[in-house]
Symmetry: C2
Subunit: 246 residues, 2 copies
Amino acid sequence: MVDRKGADGVPAPPWRKTRKPVQPRRQLSQDLIVETGMRILDAEGLDALSMRRVAQELDTGPASLYAHVANKEELLELLYDRVLGEIVLPERDPGRWKEQLRAYALEAHRVLGAHGDVARAALATIPTGENSVRAGEFVYGLLVEAGMPPREAAIAIDRLSLYIVGDAYEGSLHYARMRAAGYDNREDYFNAFSDQISAYYRALPAEQFPHVTEHVDDLVDAEGEERFRYGLDLILDGIEARMPEG
Amino acid sequence: MVDRKGADGVPAPPWRKTRKPVQPRRQLSQDLIVETGMRILDAEGLDALSMRRVAQELDTGPASLYAHVANKEELLELLYDRVLGEIVLPERDPGRWKEQLRAYALEAHRVLGAHGDVARAALATIPTGENSVRAGEFVYGLLVEAGMPPREAAIAIDRLSLYIVGDAYEGSLHYARMRAAGYDNREDYFNAFSDQISAYYRALPAEQFPHVTEHVDDLVDAEGEERFRYGLDLILDGIEARMPEG
DNA sequence: TCGTAGGGACGAACGGCGTTCGTCAACGAA
DNA sequence: TTCGTTGACGAACGCCGTTCGTCCCTACGA
Protein backbone atom coordinates (compact mmCIF):
# COMPACT_ATOMS: atom_id res chain seq x y z
CA MET A 1 0.00 0.00 0.00
CA VAL A 2 1.32 3.39 -0.98
CA ASP A 3 0.30 6.27 1.16
CA ARG A 4 0.13 9.99 0.57
CA LYS A 5 1.94 10.53 3.77
CA GLY A 6 4.09 8.15 5.74
CA ALA A 7 2.90 6.90 9.05
CA ASP A 8 5.45 9.08 10.77
CA GLY A 9 4.05 12.20 9.16
CA VAL A 10 6.88 12.94 6.71
CA PRO A 11 5.29 14.40 3.57
CA ALA A 12 5.89 12.66 0.27
CA PRO A 13 7.95 14.59 -2.30
CA PRO A 14 5.66 16.70 -4.45
CA TRP A 15 6.70 15.09 -7.72
CA ARG A 16 5.48 11.71 -6.60
CA LYS A 17 1.96 11.76 -7.94
CA THR A 18 -0.49 10.30 -5.49
CA ARG A 19 -1.95 7.37 -7.24
CA LYS A 20 -4.19 6.13 -4.56
CA PRO A 21 -5.01 7.81 -1.29
CA VAL A 22 -5.68 4.96 1.08
CA GLN A 23 -9.29 5.75 1.63
CA PRO A 24 -10.26 7.41 -1.60
CA ARG A 25 -13.82 7.58 -0.41
CA ARG A 26 -15.17 7.29 3.02
CA GLN A 27 -17.31 4.26 3.39
CA LEU A 28 -20.37 6.06 4.61
CA SER A 29 -23.58 4.10 4.78
CA GLN A 30 -26.94 4.39 6.45
CA ASP A 31 -26.03 1.65 8.88
CA LEU A 32 -22.86 3.40 9.90
CA ILE A 33 -24.72 6.66 10.41
CA VAL A 34 -27.44 5.06 12.50
CA GLU A 35 -24.87 3.21 14.55
CA THR A 36 -22.97 6.40 15.22
CA GLY A 37 -26.16 8.17 16.16
CA MET A 38 -26.95 5.36 18.55
CA ARG A 39 -23.61 5.73 20.23
CA ILE A 40 -24.11 9.44 20.75
CA LEU A 41 -27.64 8.89 21.99
CA ASP A 42 -26.59 6.35 24.57
CA ALA A 43 -23.57 8.27 25.73
CA GLU A 44 -24.76 11.85 25.71
CA GLY A 45 -28.50 11.87 25.25
CA LEU A 46 -30.87 13.12 22.62
CA ASP A 47 -29.98 16.76 23.06
CA ALA A 48 -26.44 16.04 21.94
CA LEU A 49 -27.61 14.25 18.83
CA SER A 50 -27.39 16.66 15.92
CA MET A 51 -26.61 15.99 12.30
CA ARG A 52 -23.45 17.97 12.69
CA ARG A 53 -22.41 15.95 15.69
CA VAL A 54 -22.91 12.67 13.85
CA ALA A 55 -20.95 13.99 10.89
CA GLN A 56 -18.16 15.17 13.15
CA GLU A 57 -17.96 11.74 14.71
CA LEU A 58 -17.48 10.34 11.22
CA ASP A 59 -14.86 12.94 10.34
CA THR A 60 -16.91 14.61 7.66
CA GLY A 61 -19.28 17.47 7.09
CA PRO A 62 -23.00 17.41 7.75
CA ALA A 63 -23.84 17.50 4.06
CA SER A 64 -22.42 14.04 3.55
CA LEU A 65 -25.10 12.42 5.64
CA TYR A 66 -27.93 13.48 3.41
CA ALA A 67 -26.99 10.99 0.72
CA HIS A 68 -28.01 8.19 3.08
CA VAL A 69 -30.66 9.72 5.27
CA ALA A 70 -33.45 12.00 4.10
CA ASN A 71 -33.34 14.25 7.16
CA LYS A 72 -33.03 14.20 10.90
CA GLU A 73 -36.53 12.90 11.39
CA GLU A 74 -35.73 9.83 9.34
CA LEU A 75 -32.58 9.27 11.33
CA LEU A 76 -34.59 9.37 14.53
CA GLU A 77 -37.07 6.89 13.14
CA LEU A 78 -34.28 4.53 12.22
CA LEU A 79 -32.78 4.89 15.67
CA TYR A 80 -36.08 4.26 17.35
CA ASP A 81 -36.75 1.17 15.31
CA ARG A 82 -33.31 -0.15 16.10
CA VAL A 83 -34.10 0.19 19.78
CA LEU A 84 -37.40 -1.60 19.33
CA GLY A 85 -35.41 -4.40 17.78
CA GLU A 86 -34.00 -5.16 21.19
CA ILE A 87 -37.36 -6.17 22.55
CA VAL A 88 -37.36 -9.92 22.84
CA LEU A 89 -40.68 -11.60 22.27
CA PRO A 90 -41.72 -14.99 23.60
CA GLU A 91 -43.74 -17.48 21.61
CA ARG A 92 -47.30 -16.37 21.57
CA ASP A 93 -49.66 -18.20 23.90
CA PRO A 94 -53.16 -16.67 23.84
CA GLY A 95 -54.22 -18.69 26.87
CA ARG A 96 -51.83 -16.61 28.93
CA TRP A 97 -52.46 -13.36 27.08
CA LYS A 98 -52.59 -11.20 30.17
CA GLU A 99 -49.36 -12.52 31.57
CA GLN A 100 -47.64 -12.19 28.21
CA LEU A 101 -48.97 -8.72 27.58
CA ARG A 102 -47.72 -7.65 30.97
CA ALA A 103 -44.30 -9.12 30.32
CA TYR A 104 -44.20 -7.41 26.95
CA ALA A 105 -45.05 -4.04 28.46
CA LEU A 106 -42.35 -4.37 31.10
CA GLU A 107 -39.82 -5.50 28.53
CA ALA A 108 -40.62 -2.67 26.12
CA HIS A 109 -40.50 -0.17 28.95
CA ARG A 110 -37.17 -1.54 30.08
CA VAL A 111 -35.65 -1.37 26.60
CA LEU A 112 -36.81 2.19 26.08
CA GLY A 113 -35.41 3.18 29.43
CA ALA A 114 -32.11 1.46 28.70
CA HIS A 115 -31.31 3.86 25.90
CA GLY A 116 -31.18 7.15 27.68
CA ASP A 117 -33.89 9.27 26.26
CA VAL A 118 -34.81 7.70 22.95
CA ALA A 119 -38.36 7.70 24.15
CA ARG A 120 -38.37 11.42 23.59
CA ALA A 121 -37.95 10.68 19.92
CA ALA A 122 -40.41 7.82 20.05
CA LEU A 123 -43.59 9.79 20.54
CA ALA A 124 -42.54 12.16 17.82
CA THR A 125 -42.29 9.59 15.07
CA ILE A 126 -44.93 7.55 13.31
CA PRO A 127 -43.64 4.06 13.98
CA THR A 128 -43.50 2.28 10.64
CA GLY A 129 -40.30 0.38 11.05
CA GLU A 130 -39.84 -3.34 10.76
CA ASN A 131 -39.44 -3.91 14.46
CA SER A 132 -42.40 -1.77 15.23
CA VAL A 133 -44.78 -3.95 13.22
CA ARG A 134 -43.09 -7.02 14.59
CA ALA A 135 -44.02 -5.94 18.10
CA GLY A 136 -47.42 -4.83 16.88
CA GLU A 137 -48.18 -8.18 15.34
CA PHE A 138 -47.26 -9.87 18.59
CA VAL A 139 -49.47 -7.90 20.93
CA TYR A 140 -52.34 -7.48 18.51
CA GLY A 141 -52.30 -11.17 17.63
CA LEU A 142 -52.32 -11.97 21.32
CA LEU A 143 -55.56 -10.16 21.95
CA VAL A 144 -57.25 -11.29 18.75
CA GLU A 145 -56.38 -14.91 19.32
CA ALA A 146 -57.56 -14.61 22.88
CA GLY A 147 -60.96 -13.77 21.47
CA MET A 148 -61.25 -10.01 21.52
CA PRO A 149 -63.07 -8.47 18.55
CA PRO A 150 -60.41 -7.17 16.14
CA ARG A 151 -61.56 -3.60 16.16
CA GLU A 152 -61.64 -3.39 19.92
CA ALA A 153 -58.30 -5.16 20.17
CA ALA A 154 -56.82 -2.53 17.89
CA ILE A 155 -57.91 0.25 20.21
CA ALA A 156 -56.83 -1.59 23.33
CA ILE A 157 -53.36 -2.18 21.91
CA ASP A 158 -53.15 1.42 20.83
CA ARG A 159 -53.92 2.58 24.35
CA LEU A 160 -51.47 0.19 25.93
CA SER A 161 -48.73 1.34 23.57
CA LEU A 162 -49.48 4.96 24.29
CA TYR A 163 -49.18 4.24 27.97
CA ILE A 164 -45.85 2.49 27.64
CA VAL A 165 -44.29 5.10 25.41
CA GLY A 166 -45.85 7.96 27.34
CA ASP A 167 -44.38 6.79 30.59
CA ALA A 168 -41.00 6.19 29.00
CA TYR A 169 -41.20 9.64 27.50
CA GLU A 170 -41.81 11.21 30.86
CA GLY A 171 -38.92 9.24 32.25
CA SER A 172 -36.63 10.42 29.50
CA LEU A 173 -37.51 14.01 30.24
CA HIS A 174 -36.30 13.53 33.75
CA TYR A 175 -33.25 11.84 32.35
CA ALA A 176 -32.48 14.87 30.23
CA ARG A 177 -33.08 17.19 33.14
CA MET A 178 -30.84 15.11 35.32
CA ARG A 179 -28.12 15.29 32.72
CA ALA A 180 -28.55 19.02 32.27
CA ALA A 181 -28.37 19.58 36.02
CA GLY A 182 -25.12 17.70 36.22
CA TYR A 183 -26.28 14.68 38.19
CA ASP A 184 -24.78 11.37 37.17
CA ASN A 185 -26.85 9.33 39.53
CA ARG A 186 -30.56 8.70 39.27
CA GLU A 187 -31.07 8.52 43.00
CA ASP A 188 -29.39 11.81 43.83
CA TYR A 189 -31.44 13.51 41.19
CA PHE A 190 -34.66 11.91 42.37
CA ASN A 191 -34.03 13.02 45.93
CA ALA A 192 -33.16 16.57 44.98
CA PHE A 193 -36.14 16.73 42.70
CA SER A 194 -38.68 15.45 45.18
CA ASP A 195 -37.29 17.70 47.89
CA GLN A 196 -37.96 20.62 45.62
CA ILE A 197 -41.51 19.53 44.81
CA SER A 198 -42.22 18.79 48.46
CA ALA A 199 -41.08 22.24 49.47
CA TYR A 200 -43.29 23.76 46.82
CA TYR A 201 -46.36 21.83 47.92
CA ARG A 202 -45.73 22.54 51.56
CA ALA A 203 -45.63 26.24 50.87
CA LEU A 204 -49.14 26.21 49.43
CA PRO A 205 -51.99 27.69 51.48
CA ALA A 206 -53.52 24.77 53.37
CA GLU A 207 -57.04 26.12 53.40
CA GLN A 208 -57.13 26.32 49.65
CA PHE A 209 -55.40 23.03 48.93
CA PRO A 210 -56.12 20.86 51.96
CA HIS A 211 -55.54 17.45 50.43
CA VAL A 212 -52.40 18.27 48.52
CA THR A 213 -50.76 19.94 51.50
CA GLU A 214 -51.78 17.19 53.90
CA HIS A 215 -50.33 14.30 51.91
CA VAL A 216 -47.22 15.84 50.42
CA ASP A 217 -45.10 12.79 51.15
CA ASP A 218 -47.56 10.41 49.54
CA LEU A 219 -47.67 12.54 46.42
CA VAL A 220 -43.95 12.55 46.03
CA ASP A 221 -43.06 9.15 47.37
CA ALA A 222 -43.57 6.50 44.70
CA GLU A 223 -40.72 5.56 42.40
CA GLY A 224 -41.14 5.42 38.65
CA GLU A 225 -41.20 1.68 38.31
CA GLU A 226 -43.93 1.24 40.89
CA ARG A 227 -46.03 3.90 39.25
CA PHE A 228 -45.59 2.28 35.87
CA ARG A 229 -46.68 -1.13 37.12
CA TYR A 230 -49.70 0.30 38.87
CA GLY A 231 -50.99 1.96 35.73
CA LEU A 232 -50.14 -1.06 33.66
CA ASP A 233 -52.25 -3.30 35.87
CA LEU A 234 -55.03 -0.75 35.77
CA ILE A 235 -55.12 -1.06 32.00
CA LEU A 236 -54.66 -4.81 31.85
CA ASP A 237 -57.46 -5.40 34.36
CA GLY A 238 -59.67 -3.16 32.28
CA ILE A 239 -58.90 -5.15 29.14
CA GLU A 240 -59.56 -8.39 30.97
CA ALA A 241 -62.94 -7.17 32.07
CA ARG A 242 -63.80 -6.48 28.45
CA MET A 243 -62.58 -9.80 27.15
CA PRO A 244 -65.51 -11.95 25.97
CA GLU A 245 -66.27 -15.12 28.00
CA GLY A 246 -63.39 -14.83 30.34
CA MET B 1 -46.07 64.37 16.66
CA VAL B 2 -42.44 64.96 15.99
CA ASP B 3 -40.49 62.04 14.73
CA ARG B 4 -36.86 61.32 14.24
CA LYS B 5 -37.60 60.65 10.62
CA GLY B 6 -40.53 61.79 8.52
CA ALA B 7 -43.04 59.24 7.33
CA ASP B 8 -41.71 59.69 3.81
CA GLY B 9 -38.20 58.75 4.88
CA VAL B 10 -36.59 62.18 4.69
CA PRO B 11 -34.10 62.40 7.55
CA ALA B 12 -34.42 65.19 10.01
CA PRO B 13 -31.62 67.78 10.00
CA PRO B 14 -28.86 66.70 12.37
CA TRP B 15 -29.00 69.83 14.47
CA ARG B 16 -32.56 69.20 15.51
CA LYS B 17 -32.06 67.30 18.75
CA THR B 18 -34.62 64.59 19.22
CA ARG B 19 -36.33 65.52 22.42
CA LYS B 20 -38.83 62.73 22.75
CA PRO B 21 -39.23 59.65 20.66
CA VAL B 22 -42.94 58.98 20.80
CA GLN B 23 -42.87 55.96 23.07
CA PRO B 24 -39.83 56.48 25.26
CA ARG B 25 -40.37 53.08 26.85
CA ARG B 26 -42.34 50.18 25.64
CA GLN B 27 -44.73 48.85 28.22
CA LEU B 28 -43.43 45.30 28.22
CA SER B 29 -44.59 42.95 30.93
CA GLN B 30 -44.70 39.25 31.56
CA ASP B 31 -48.42 39.19 31.00
CA LEU B 32 -48.10 40.91 27.68
CA ILE B 33 -45.43 38.49 26.59
CA VAL B 34 -47.41 35.43 27.61
CA GLU B 35 -50.49 36.80 25.92
CA THR B 36 -48.59 37.39 22.71
CA GLY B 37 -47.12 33.92 22.88
CA MET B 38 -50.59 32.52 23.34
CA ARG B 39 -51.80 34.28 20.23
CA ILE B 40 -48.97 32.87 18.15
CA LEU B 41 -49.49 29.41 19.60
CA ASP B 42 -53.17 29.37 18.76
CA ALA B 43 -52.77 30.86 15.32
CA GLU B 44 -49.63 29.20 14.04
CA GLY B 45 -48.70 26.38 16.35
CA LEU B 46 -45.84 25.62 18.67
CA ASP B 47 -43.24 25.41 15.90
CA ALA B 48 -43.84 29.04 15.07
CA LEU B 49 -43.37 30.12 18.66
CA SER B 50 -39.85 31.42 19.09
CA MET B 51 -38.53 34.13 21.32
CA ARG B 52 -37.66 36.13 18.26
CA ARG B 53 -41.15 35.74 16.90
CA VAL B 54 -42.72 36.97 20.13
CA ALA B 55 -40.34 39.90 20.21
CA GLN B 56 -41.11 40.75 16.61
CA GLU B 57 -44.81 40.74 17.39
CA LEU B 58 -44.09 43.28 20.11
CA ASP B 59 -41.92 45.43 17.83
CA THR B 60 -38.76 44.85 19.75
CA GLY B 61 -35.68 42.64 19.85
CA PRO B 62 -35.49 39.24 21.48
CA ALA B 63 -33.21 40.50 24.24
CA SER B 64 -35.99 42.61 25.68
CA LEU B 65 -38.01 39.60 26.70
CA TYR B 66 -35.42 38.27 29.08
CA ALA B 67 -36.12 40.96 31.63
CA HIS B 68 -39.55 39.43 32.20
CA VAL B 69 -39.06 35.77 31.44
CA ALA B 70 -36.08 33.67 32.44
CA ASN B 71 -35.95 31.68 29.22
CA LYS B 72 -38.11 29.93 26.69
CA GLU B 73 -38.86 27.04 29.00
CA GLU B 74 -40.35 29.40 31.55
CA LEU B 75 -42.45 31.02 28.87
CA LEU B 76 -43.80 27.63 27.87
CA GLU B 77 -44.62 26.81 31.47
CA LEU B 78 -46.51 30.05 31.82
CA LEU B 79 -48.38 29.37 28.61
CA TYR B 80 -49.24 25.87 29.69
CA ASP B 81 -50.55 27.01 33.02
CA ARG B 82 -52.64 29.64 31.37
CA VAL B 83 -54.25 26.94 29.26
CA LEU B 84 -54.91 24.82 32.33
CA GLY B 85 -56.70 27.81 33.75
CA GLU B 86 -59.44 27.27 31.21
CA ILE B 87 -60.42 23.97 32.75
CA VAL B 88 -63.67 24.53 34.59
CA LEU B 89 -64.15 22.43 37.69
CA PRO B 90 -67.49 21.50 39.25
CA GLU B 91 -68.08 21.40 42.97
CA ARG B 92 -66.53 18.27 44.35
CA ASP B 93 -68.92 15.42 45.12
CA PRO B 94 -67.04 12.30 46.24
CA GLY B 95 -70.16 10.19 45.96
CA ARG B 96 -70.00 10.64 42.21
CA TRP B 97 -66.21 10.50 42.00
CA LYS B 98 -66.12 8.32 38.92
CA GLU B 99 -68.50 10.46 36.98
CA GLN B 100 -66.68 13.62 38.00
CA LEU B 101 -63.28 12.21 37.26
CA ARG B 102 -64.47 11.20 33.82
CA ALA B 103 -65.91 14.63 33.14
CA TYR B 104 -62.68 16.22 34.34
CA ALA B 105 -60.60 14.08 32.01
CA LEU B 106 -62.77 14.92 29.04
CA GLU B 107 -62.71 18.60 29.90
CA ALA B 108 -58.97 18.71 30.35
CA HIS B 109 -58.48 16.81 27.13
CA ARG B 110 -60.78 19.18 25.32
CA VAL B 111 -59.01 22.28 26.62
CA LEU B 112 -55.62 20.93 25.65
CA GLY B 113 -56.89 20.10 22.21
CA ALA B 114 -58.47 23.51 21.81
CA HIS B 115 -55.11 25.25 21.85
CA GLY B 116 -53.41 23.78 18.86
CA ASP B 117 -50.45 21.90 20.08
CA VAL B 118 -49.75 23.23 23.56
CA ALA B 119 -49.81 19.65 24.72
CA ARG B 120 -46.44 19.23 23.07
CA ALA B 121 -45.11 21.72 25.59
CA ALA B 122 -47.09 20.16 28.40
CA LEU B 123 -45.21 16.90 28.78
CA ALA B 124 -41.96 18.81 28.64
CA THR B 125 -42.60 20.96 31.68
CA ILE B 126 -42.86 20.13 35.34
CA PRO B 127 -46.28 21.51 36.11
CA THR B 128 -45.93 23.74 39.10
CA GLY B 129 -48.27 26.52 38.13
CA GLU B 130 -51.22 27.77 40.09
CA ASN B 131 -53.79 26.24 37.82
CA SER B 132 -51.98 22.96 37.80
CA VAL B 133 -52.21 22.52 41.54
CA ARG B 134 -55.78 23.74 41.43
CA ALA B 135 -56.67 20.87 39.12
CA GLY B 136 -54.50 18.51 41.15
CA GLU B 137 -56.28 19.36 44.37
CA PHE B 138 -59.60 18.69 42.71
CA VAL B 139 -58.88 15.23 41.33
CA TYR B 140 -56.73 14.11 44.23
CA GLY B 141 -59.26 15.30 46.76
CA LEU B 142 -61.95 13.46 44.86
CA LEU B 143 -60.25 10.10 45.25
CA VAL B 144 -59.15 10.67 48.82
CA GLU B 145 -62.57 11.77 49.95
CA ALA B 146 -64.06 8.81 48.15
CA GLY B 147 -62.02 6.63 50.45
CA MET B 148 -58.93 5.65 48.54
CA PRO B 149 -55.73 5.48 50.60
CA PRO B 150 -53.80 8.71 50.01
CA ARG B 151 -50.69 7.07 48.68
CA GLU B 152 -52.56 4.94 46.20
CA ALA B 153 -54.72 7.88 45.17
CA ALA B 154 -51.57 9.83 44.38
CA ILE B 155 -50.37 7.15 42.00
CA ALA B 156 -53.77 6.71 40.41
CA ILE B 157 -54.07 10.43 39.74
CA ASP B 158 -50.58 10.51 38.37
CA ARG B 159 -51.41 7.75 35.92
CA LEU B 160 -54.65 9.37 34.86
CA SER B 161 -52.90 12.66 34.25
CA LEU B 162 -50.20 10.98 32.24
CA TYR B 163 -52.84 9.37 30.10
CA ILE B 164 -54.68 12.61 29.45
CA VAL B 165 -51.59 14.60 28.59
CA GLY B 166 -50.04 11.74 26.68
CA ASP B 167 -53.02 11.40 24.42
CA ALA B 168 -53.23 15.14 23.92
CA TYR B 169 -49.55 15.15 23.11
CA GLU B 170 -50.00 12.51 20.47
CA GLY B 171 -52.87 14.49 19.05
CA SER B 172 -50.80 17.64 18.90
CA LEU B 173 -48.10 15.85 16.97
CA HIS B 174 -50.63 15.04 14.33
CA TYR B 175 -51.76 18.61 14.47
CA ALA B 176 -48.23 19.81 13.76
CA ARG B 177 -47.84 17.30 10.98
CA MET B 178 -51.12 18.37 9.48
CA ARG B 179 -50.02 21.94 9.55
CA ALA B 180 -46.63 21.14 8.06
CA ALA B 181 -48.24 19.16 5.26
CA GLY B 182 -50.44 22.09 4.36
CA TYR B 183 -53.81 20.66 5.37
CA ASP B 184 -56.22 23.07 6.99
CA ASN B 185 -58.82 20.47 7.75
CA ARG B 186 -58.56 17.69 10.29
CA GLU B 187 -60.68 15.28 8.27
CA ASP B 188 -58.73 15.59 5.04
CA TYR B 189 -55.53 15.00 6.93
CA PHE B 190 -56.95 12.03 8.81
CA ASN B 191 -58.07 10.40 5.59
CA ALA B 192 -54.80 10.96 3.81
CA PHE B 193 -52.91 9.72 6.80
CA SER B 194 -54.90 6.54 7.30
CA ASP B 195 -54.74 5.77 3.58
CA GLN B 196 -51.00 5.90 3.86
CA ILE B 197 -50.84 3.65 6.88
CA SER B 198 -53.31 1.22 5.34
CA ALA B 199 -51.23 0.95 2.20
CA TYR B 200 -48.16 0.31 4.29
CA TYR B 201 -49.81 -2.45 6.33
CA ARG B 202 -51.32 -4.04 3.26
CA ALA B 203 -47.93 -4.28 1.64
CA LEU B 204 -46.56 -6.36 4.52
CA PRO B 205 -45.97 -10.09 3.96
CA ALA B 206 -49.14 -11.82 5.14
CA GLU B 207 -47.45 -14.99 6.33
CA GLN B 208 -45.22 -13.04 8.68
CA PHE B 209 -47.83 -10.61 9.96
CA PRO B 210 -51.13 -12.44 9.60
CA HIS B 211 -53.20 -10.49 12.11
CA VAL B 212 -52.02 -7.04 11.15
CA THR B 213 -52.56 -7.61 7.46
CA GLU B 214 -55.95 -9.23 7.97
CA HIS B 215 -57.47 -6.43 10.00
CA VAL B 216 -55.94 -3.36 8.41
CA ASP B 217 -59.20 -1.44 8.43
CA ASP B 218 -59.84 -2.14 12.09
CA LEU B 219 -56.39 -0.95 13.01
CA VAL B 220 -56.80 2.33 11.22
CA ASP B 221 -60.47 2.97 11.71
CA ALA B 222 -61.10 4.51 15.11
CA GLU B 223 -61.10 8.26 15.55
CA GLY B 224 -59.09 9.96 18.23
CA GLU B 225 -61.97 10.82 20.52
CA GLU B 226 -63.27 7.24 20.59
CA ARG B 227 -59.82 5.92 21.36
CA PHE B 228 -59.38 8.41 24.16
CA ARG B 229 -62.67 7.48 25.79
CA TYR B 230 -61.93 3.79 25.55
CA GLY B 231 -58.64 4.12 27.36
CA LEU B 232 -60.14 6.50 29.87
CA ASP B 233 -62.82 4.00 30.81
CA LEU B 234 -60.19 1.29 31.03
CA ILE B 235 -58.38 3.33 33.65
CA LEU B 236 -61.45 4.49 35.53
CA ASP B 237 -62.80 0.94 35.76
CA GLY B 238 -59.47 -0.16 37.09
CA ILE B 239 -59.51 2.54 39.73
CA GLU B 240 -63.04 1.64 40.70
CA ALA B 241 -62.07 -1.98 41.18
CA ARG B 242 -59.36 -0.87 43.59
CA MET B 243 -61.60 1.48 45.56
CA PRO B 244 -62.19 0.12 49.07
CA GLU B 245 -65.76 -0.99 49.85
CA GLY B 246 -67.08 0.32 46.63
C1' DT C 1 -7.51 1.23 -23.12
C1' DC C 2 -10.05 5.26 -23.25
C1' DG C 3 -14.10 8.35 -22.51
C1' DT C 4 -17.84 9.35 -20.11
C1' DA C 5 -21.91 9.36 -17.08
C1' DG C 6 -23.38 8.99 -12.48
C1' DG C 7 -23.22 9.55 -7.82
C1' DG C 8 -21.19 9.97 -3.28
C1' DA C 9 -18.33 13.26 -0.58
C1' DC C 10 -18.09 17.65 1.05
C1' DG C 11 -16.96 22.96 1.67
C1' DA C 12 -19.58 26.79 2.03
C1' DA C 13 -23.39 29.11 2.87
C1' DC C 14 -28.42 30.31 4.13
C1' DG C 15 -31.68 31.34 7.32
C1' DG C 16 -33.14 30.20 11.48
C1' DC C 17 -32.67 29.53 16.69
C1' DG C 18 -31.89 30.72 22.20
C1' DT C 19 -29.25 33.42 24.83
C1' DT C 20 -25.72 36.99 26.53
C1' DC C 21 -23.23 41.22 26.60
C1' DG C 22 -22.71 45.98 26.81
C1' DT C 23 -24.83 50.41 26.12
C1' DC C 24 -28.04 53.80 26.94
C1' DA C 25 -31.98 56.33 28.47
C1' DA C 26 -35.52 56.98 31.88
C1' DC C 27 -36.92 57.01 36.51
C1' DG C 28 -37.12 57.12 41.73
C1' DA C 29 -34.67 58.13 45.78
C1' DA C 30 -31.53 60.98 48.25
C1' DT D 1 -29.86 68.04 41.18
C1' DT D 2 -27.36 63.90 41.33
C1' DC D 3 -26.83 59.19 41.15
C1' DG D 4 -27.77 54.33 41.21
C1' DT D 5 -30.93 51.09 39.37
C1' DT D 6 -33.39 49.01 35.93
C1' DG D 7 -35.63 47.96 31.61
C1' DA D 8 -35.12 48.27 26.51
C1' DC D 9 -32.45 46.90 22.93
C1' DG D 10 -28.72 46.37 18.96
C1' DA D 11 -25.29 43.32 18.10
C1' DA D 12 -23.17 39.31 18.41
C1' DC D 13 -22.02 34.26 19.68
C1' DG D 14 -22.42 29.66 18.79
C1' DC D 15 -25.42 26.47 17.73
C1' DC D 16 -28.88 24.13 14.48
C1' DG D 17 -31.01 21.55 9.86
C1' DT D 18 -30.66 21.76 5.27
C1' DT D 19 -29.26 22.97 0.29
C1' DC D 20 -26.29 24.18 -3.49
C1' DG D 21 -22.60 23.52 -6.43
C1' DT D 22 -18.27 21.40 -7.21
C1' DC D 23 -15.04 17.83 -7.37
C1' DC D 24 -13.45 13.42 -8.21
C1' DC D 25 -13.71 8.43 -7.85
C1' DT D 26 -15.85 4.49 -9.87
C1' DA D 27 -18.13 1.60 -13.13
C1' DC D 28 -19.30 0.79 -17.54
C1' DG D 29 -19.71 0.88 -22.62
C1' DA D 30 -16.99 1.20 -26.73
